[in-house]
């Protein structure tokens, strides 16, 4: 368990009358040994919106994302200070099992288990104690439907997941994450290995899923951030440079550094 210094949360005005901060980072610092990866990032992630985290390689955006379900703890001994909240609760004090059920994650490269399509999606529900066949069937169908994959695989659920295309495998991973009914979905460059058609399907999916979920997506693809997100946050060298509504960031950013980055004139 990393060190954690709790900082009293600051009461802030809501982002918008309808926006609830589902996730909140307050002065978040993360260091691996002498290297400080995040240097005091504070950011509210509103509920039922897609928030894109952008920034150059090594700026800390993946570390920032991983903090929200504490996957960063698997990357080695990290010193974490500041506060991370899920619905106002200290996320660092939550049980890992509860946290990772509520906050799912999808990674850059599709990583289906070497099992059947059905068993991939049923994995989470089984882990959380779902045993009845009909309950499992329901959870699998629900996850696959939400991931817009059901119609493509419903007749071959027993087939190996490894036989699916890259785009289908990524949607299977999304279905696997959705099968335990999380409230938040973290996505770390989920389309970087996909072709434009598969990418478009994932982006459409984000639009549908945000009705029920809060989504945070890390992406290097500026056009994807512009197309698929409601809010965008720009990180640079472990610091938050600017965040705001995506249309503002991509038409009239407030900071010259943001403008330079999104127009590709950085450095």
């Amino acid at each position: 368990m990393p060190d954690s210094i709790l900082i009293e949360p600051v009461m802030e005005a809501p982002l918008h009358p309808t926006d609830r901060a589902r996730l909140r980072a307050e002065n978040l610092r993360v260091a691996y040994g002498p290297k400080e990866v995040l240097k005091g990032v504070s950011l509210d992630i509103p509920a039922n919106q897609v928030t894109a985290i952008i920034g150059p390689s090594g700026c800390g955006k993946s570390t920032f994302l991983k903090c929200f379900n504490r996957i960063h703890e698997l990357s080695g001994p990290a010193k974490v200070t500041g506060r991370i909240e899920l619905d106002g609760r200290d996320l660092m004090a939550m049980r890992e099992v509860e946290l990772r059920r509520r906050v799912g994650m999808v990674f850059q490269k599709p990583n289906p288990f070497p099992k059947s399509i059905y068993d991939n999606v049923a994995f989470g529900p089984r882990l959380f104690g779902v045993r009845g066949r009909s309950d499992l069937d329901g959870a699998v169908e629900d996850g696959l439907r939400k991931a817009a994959l059901w119609d493509e695989v419903k007749d071959r659920l027993a087939d190996s997941a490894q036989g699916l295309s890259g785009g289908q495998q990524q949607r299977l991973c999304i279905a696997r994450a959705l099968a335990v009914q999380p409230e938040v979905l973290l996505m770390d460059e989920p389309c970087s290995a996909l072709d434009p058609i598969a990418t478009a399907r994932i982006e459409e999916l984000l639009f549908d899923l945000k009705r029920e979920l809060t989504i945070v997506i890390v992406t290097h693809n500026m056009q994807q951030a512009a197309r698929a997100s409601d809010r965008t946050a720009f990180l640079w060298l472990g610091e938050l440079v600017e965040e705001g509504p995506t249309e503002t960031i991509f038409t009239n950013p407030g900071k010259p550094m943001t403008e330079d980055y999104i127009t590709g004139r950085f450095g």
């Binding site: 500026m222 038409t251 009239n252 943001t258 999104i262 127009t263 590709g264």
Partner: protein, 222 residues
């Protein structure tokens, strides 16, 4: 950033400036053709218009190519989006110049209806608005763009004064109705050119500040 993309943006700026420069020249010639009563200058205005139309087509294509291939964002996006609106404004100014020049040729051999000073002031003020709007674009000068927008009311007033004066003259002397009617349309063309300079200045402010200043009564306060 792709070097070609930056070059394309630069060419768009330069092309737009060149097109505007040509229209500024047309405005000068138009005004002189009226004031000096010279048909040869009116003919030169008409001859220049084809080139302005060609430039419009080229610049339109440049904008579409930049949008499709460069996927511009932020200030670059504002430049391309506004260029797509500024280009037809400049082209229309060219058309108005041709309209005025055509009527100048009809009026030049005939007796004056109106003292030359009135139309001269309307033409000069309007031409200056276009010059300043183009300068604001070239220099990135928001204050100058605002000055152009503010100047439009004065041109509207000049136009209305000329309109009323000409109506009065037509009522007093039915023989001047045809000439005065042409002059009313000439004045209307100048007034429209001033509106177009205002539109260009509004786009310049959007490029520079990212804020749409059109229809202020419909805008949220900044």
């Amino acid at each position: 950033m792709n070097r070609h993309y930056d070059e394309d943006l630069k060419h768009l700026r330069e092309g737009l400036t060149a097109m505007a420069g040509q229209v500024e020249w047309m405005l000068d010639l138009t005004l002189r053709s009226l004031l000096e009563r010279r048909d040869d200058l009116a003919d030169r205005v008409s001859a220049l218009d084809a080139s302005v139309d060609e430039q419009e087509l080229k610049l339109d294509k440049s904008c579409i190519d930049l949008l499709a291939l460069g996927a511009p964002v932020a200030r670059d996006l504002r430049l391309v989006a506004s260029a797509l609106k500024i280009i037809p404004e400049i082209e229309r100014i060219g058309d108005h110049c041709c309209n005025i020049a055509r009527r100048a040729k009809l009026l030049n051999p005939q007796p004056l209806v109106l003292p030359a000073e009135a139309m001269e002031r309307l033409g000069r003020d309007t031409r200056d608005m276009v010059r300043q709007a183009v300068d604001a674009f070239v220099r990135g000068d928001a204050a100058l763009a605002r000055a152009v927008i503010a100047a439009d009311d004065q041109v509207d007033t000049l136009y209305m004064d000329i309109y009323r004066d000409l109506l009065r003259r037509m009522l007093g002397d039915p023989l001047c109705i045809e000439r005065a009617s042409h002059l009313i349309l000439v004045a209307k063309n100048w007034e429209r050119i001033a509106d177009q300079a205002t539109n260009i200045a509004e786009e310049v402010l959007f490029i520079l500040e990212g804020r749409n200043v059109k229809h202020p009564h419909l805008q949220d306060p900044p």
